[in-house]
Symmetry: C5
Subunit: 232 residues, 5 copies
């Protein structure tokens, strides 16, 4: 058993909350999968796997925090290396559920998301200069945004004529624009700005993950269920 969670330990409390919320969300999405129309099953599977992988990481970090009072930032990056590309690929999966998109789009989105997380990872872990890592990560993120607003992904969405897809696509794109901005921002402040105390950074990243994973998930869920009701 670990140390006791204290009421004054906001960071520890937020880790705990996130780990439980991720477990709950994972089970929710995985169970509701079979209520969705069959064409949305892969979407729901991917959502569930994102939540589950995050749940394992938060559960580990929560235990680590309770026993040592620190939370290794590297575990966050490993989590993001796995879950961020899965989330970007969700755009492709959502589009191909109701319309057709080129395989090239899949690869462009995958590579863009890998450039983003690996760039930030290499910079944060010290394998390259923090500035270079930041810039590479930024390029990956901006490329994805370009793809979503002006590239093939955006065009496919526009002409799909499916309300559910529009809803999901626009909601997710908004989260990717605003919510994901927290990651380079946190990175910038931590490594290039004046620095920030670790506790604030952990709380900010926990809030970001809550928005960018769980709220993200429910935006998709709502669109999937709307479409299942209408077009079944």
């Amino acid at each position: 058993m670990n140390k006791m969670l204290l009421p004054t330990d906001v960071v520890g409390g937020s880790f705990w909350l996130l780990s439980m919320a991720m477990i709950g969300a994972a089970i929710f999405f995985l169970l509701e999968r079979n209520k969705a129309a069959a064409r949305w099953h892969t979407t729901m599977t991917l959502l569930g796997v994102v939540m589950l992988v995050s749940a394992v990481h938060y559960y580990y970090t929560n235990n680590m925090w309770l026993s040592t009072g620190t939370a290794p930032i590297i575990v966050r990056y490993i989590d993001w290396v796995l879950t961020h590309p899965m989330q970007v690929i969700l755009f492709y999966v959502v589009l191909t559920a109701v319309t057709s998109a080129s395989t090239a789009l899949f690869w462009r989105l995958l590579i863009g998301s890998l450039v983003m997380v690996i760039g930030e990872f290499l910079g944060a872990a010290g394998y390259m200069s923090a500035t270079l890592g930041f810039l590479i990560g930024l390029v990956g993120w901006l490329y994805i945004l370009g793809e979503l607003y002006m590239g093939e992904a955006g065009r496919v969405n526009a002409k799909s004529g499916n309300d559910a897809t529009h809803l999901a696509f626009n909601g997710l794109r908004l989260i990717l624009t605003i919510g994901w901005a927290i990651y380079p921002l946190g990175y910038f402040i931590e490594h290039l700005g004046g620095g920030v105390d670790t506790n604030s950074l952990n709380i900010i990243y926990n809030l970001a993950d809550f928005l960018n994973k769980i709220i993200f998930g429910f935006v998709v869920y709502r669109a999937v269920m709307n479409d299942t009701r209408v077009n079944k």
Copy 2:
């Protein structure tokens, strides 16, 4: 392995009992989900997730009690921050299973329940004055009751003309009125009244959770199964 559970340890026994009952209830609801009519699946999923999240918290607290003889109250609040909003949202999910309710109702119920638990949490953890936290929590709870008795939720229920929904809605509303009163009451006694010994408080809260989660769950379950039998 932890210390031995003693026959004289009523608090420890009640933690143990609750953790096992929550696990059993979680598995029961999750399995019976596929026996319910499809329109009730989300209801059952939500019930199962509430039980499962509670089970993890009680399992942790039970272990903590066995190894240290104390049970961190903050873990209860984190549990409530997650499960109480889910339970309030169940009203919305139950209503939309058989009739239509506005999305605004969903948001009002969610926000009301968040105001309630976050108010109490901030007061209990010492982030604001105990009195202020108590009052904010009270406002959230009373708002939800108003919504259920006199607001849109109550009206939608009244005109749904579905016996199962009436049964569930009225049963749940009664639990939210009487059973949930235990939480502000416990809070008041603990923080504002003369105080109470921790053991009594733990037993009271455990009984409250048994009523407000497990009995709550079976009220929903019974209504769902009645409706499945009649309207399948």
Copy 3:
């Protein structure tokens, strides 16, 4: 890791055997559930949950035994407080699967079983005199038997005209008559008679649980599968 299980440790061996048998039985019933006709699903779910809750308790007690050489009797009582009412309710569930029984019967069976286990529990844990607890427990048990042989439950079974129900009902009633007699008997010998060495008591209770849970479960399973084959 715990201490080693020795060949000469009959009590430890029986705990181990029971914990594995309960896990195996739980998985068996939960998997075979979807082979049963839909009206028997709740019956199978309840069986699986009984086994699973027992499996957790036996698994815990087995570990406790291996690490300390003792097995807290209070854990047995908590297990029985949860599983015995569930088993008594199985009579109601079995009857309502093929015929109709009054809701009052459900409550009478539930209350009877709670009187039985809570009476014994309070006496065994020392919250009331051992004799009084014994008598209260006895009253609960005899009331259930009366209900099953001469009360509404017996009558509903007699006129159900369903072979599977007869088979299950009579088999279960026999187990409740003979097998459950071991609990008040063990209680009497331990608390009111001359006492008995703990090891013998543990082995007797383990054998009783094997009969009253696992064999009990397979009696129900056989009836369910016969009825599924004949009346599908």
Copy 4:
């Protein structure tokens, strides 16, 4: 964490391999269950439960080996007390999937298998003379073989006229004849012959379990899938 597994530790390696293989086989059979025709579902469930119970025992023994360098033989016997009767009952389940066999056959096979494992268990654990336990175990095993080659089981198989049943029945019978001979042989050498070093015995028993459980399982699986393809 336990000690490290060394490349030179053949016994430890074989425990590890077996525990992983059992887990893999359990999941494989449990998942493939719903691909089999409905009449084979109980067969597949039983196979999965046998593998799962074995997996738990091997997982425990593997951990025990890594932390203490010994493997309690009594855990093997408890495993066999549970899994060998289940495997013998598989003959009955396989026969009743496609033809009818008397309930008496079920009881004769169950009792024969219990005589076999309990006899060996009592002898090995020292509750009766090693020779007597050996002979009782031998009688149980030979009785089962007699039943399978010349008794009702053999006759039911012969006249079932189902290729899949023949295939499974004959394959399993061969494994019971040759593979299960390892158990009395190992017992004889260990307790009545000149003895054998524990490491060799562990490796022999691990190989025997691999043949008698996993290969046994795939013989059934192949027959089930052939029959599902042909007679669906």
Copy 5:
């Protein structure tokens, strides 16, 4: 709890990443199984089991690394002894999903893969000369390649006339040719060449497993889903 994962610990990070990726992939394939056409179910089951067994091994090795700073190479070999034959058998399963292939092919592939892994295992663990083990392993691998390019497997694929099968078969064959070359190469460098520092070897093997298991799995997945869409 184990030691903290440091940003500079590339080996530990890659173990962590692999263990999480394997868990995610296992759950993904097992869930998507029921979206595939029924004839592909065994393929998906096998994929899921391969990932799950690997996940357990990587999870163990990751913990071992965090607590001791070393990763026992023998655990890799046990993993390969189990998963490589399963992967080779996937060729057979993929072929028999849409066309017929001789049972002899199954046995030749199984034996070839066992020769490969057992040869390498015996050499690496020191039970035979490193050179002999290397050569035996090489023979097994080359035999499988021969079977896939020029033997029955290749011919069955060529004449199956099923696009999905061609896609999967050719993709897997490419991975077996290029990706699996890493194992004998690593073996050669480690045991016969000048040696290599353990850290580099671990990273190389982790990358190899990522390609040869997870990418391998998604090649199969894509073919299965294409075929399900076209020929359902």
